[in-house]
Symmetry: C2
Subunit: 252 residues, 2 copies
């Protein structure tokens, strides 16, 4: 039987509704089932009629398989991520499940609907720290060896690339951040601009501008994104206003 | 005199209104003047009352200064980019103008409003090629020396990072793409997944999935974004549907 179901993998954007695309709002309204990490399910519009399937962080593959199963049985299913689903979000987990799963899942009508990425929202709050070439890494070694993370940090140092670092630390995972900072300080120098963006778009939003040398790892938790400048990243100080950080379009 | 004007630097998102955030729509409705590259000004809603100031590609700093001047004189001004203004967009140009410009410009109420980036929209059309660590580079050597571009490509090769390459070529700038491809083929091997995304969200949208070895530079023009996989990027073939490309969350 050819399924009439479909799967939409979508990004809610960080925080406020003003950052959610109309395309995503429409897909949520059309869905019969929505799957996602519990805090993202909590952010769904109260008005949608879909059945909500909340699950924990770390259950991505199980969540993806359950969503695919329902879609293959004929239901209109959405899988949600915060920010954009394509950047350290659910899209790769769903495709991994399709790649390894039932042949029927390849027949499904599957689309990724892009969302506003938290890294772009964080950068906007700070100015334009990612306004020139940059690199996006997750510091979590849950799914990859630390050696590849270190190699990528060194590569970013060698290329003098600004950095957006996802998952910089959690309550239990602290040592990796210390090692990453040591690698970055060695490659870039203590004066390099460093920025902490926490809960962007949420109730506890805050941004802090500091330097690699002065950055205190204790200020970073799992709700933070850590941004690091290149050698050209600059601060504009302003009387009575927060400084602006930007990476110029020109390279000397 | 303290100015009552403001400046909003905003990203229209690529193409369709369904990809534009409500925050940006509101800012456009409130603006008295909107500055931008001619094709982006053409994409503004017909309903807004703002005076439109269209200018050519390459005039970014002049455009930024004119916008700042008007905002400092008390007007509500918006500067628009396609996609997100913080990624190779107008945000860095405006901050460069503030950094080098009149002291009064530092007193201005300036905000960046993030938008849906074309690279995330392109990735979504293809699957999730940027679903793991990646690097974002512009191949244009208009504002930086080719040596730094080559160094960054080599760094990305060394770190086995997926790539989103902006400005891969223009009508007159062809040689750089050949050099970049040679560097990528040498560092990654001919079998690496390569993807061309053209005019995403526009009337001429198309995506093509190929390999570094098979990629034909003649298929790339200034409206293209070039995506390149890491060693782990995979293709899911599907009967009767386009393949999906994804970079797994796991690293072997």
């Amino acid at each position: 039987m050819t399924s009439t179901g479909h799967l939409r993998i979508l990004g809610l954007g960080p925080g406020p509704l003003a950052w959610r695309t109309p395309e995503v709002e429409t897909a949520l309204a059309e869905a019969e089932h929505v799957f996602g990490y519990t805090p993202y399910i909590a952010r769904l519009p109260a008005t949608i009629s879909a059945q909500r399937h909340a699950s924990d962080n770390g259950d991505e593959l199980l969540r993806a398989r359950a969503a695919l199963q329902l879609a293959a049985s004929g239901a209109r299913v959405a899988v949600v991520s915060g920010g954009d689903a394509g950047i350290f979000g659910m899209a790769s987990a769903v495709f991994e499940a399709i790649d390894q799963g039932e042949a029927a899942w390849r027949d499904l009508d599957v689309l990724v609907l892009p969302g506003l990425s938290v890294m772009l929202a964080a950068a906007a709050r700070l100015g334009a720290p990612l306004g020139h070439d940059f690199c996006v890494l997750s510091l979590s070694d849950r799914l990859k060896p630390w050696s590849i993370i270190e190699r990528r940090l060194q590569a970013a140092n060698h290329g003098d690339l600004a950095l957006a670092l996802y998952n910089p630390a959690s309550q239990s995972r602290r040592q990796q951040l210390e090692q990453a900072l040591a690698c970055l300080r060695q490659g870039r120098g203590d004066e390099t601009v460093a920025m902490i963006a926490r809960d962007i778009g949420g109730a506890d939003e805050r941004v802090a501008i500091t330097s690699l040398g002065a950055l205190n790892p204790a200020d970073i938790d799992m709700r933070c994104l850590l941004l690091v400048g290149s050698s050209t990243t600059r601060l504009i100080t302003r009387p009575g206003r927060a400084p602006l950080v930007y990476t110029p379009r020109h390279y000397p």
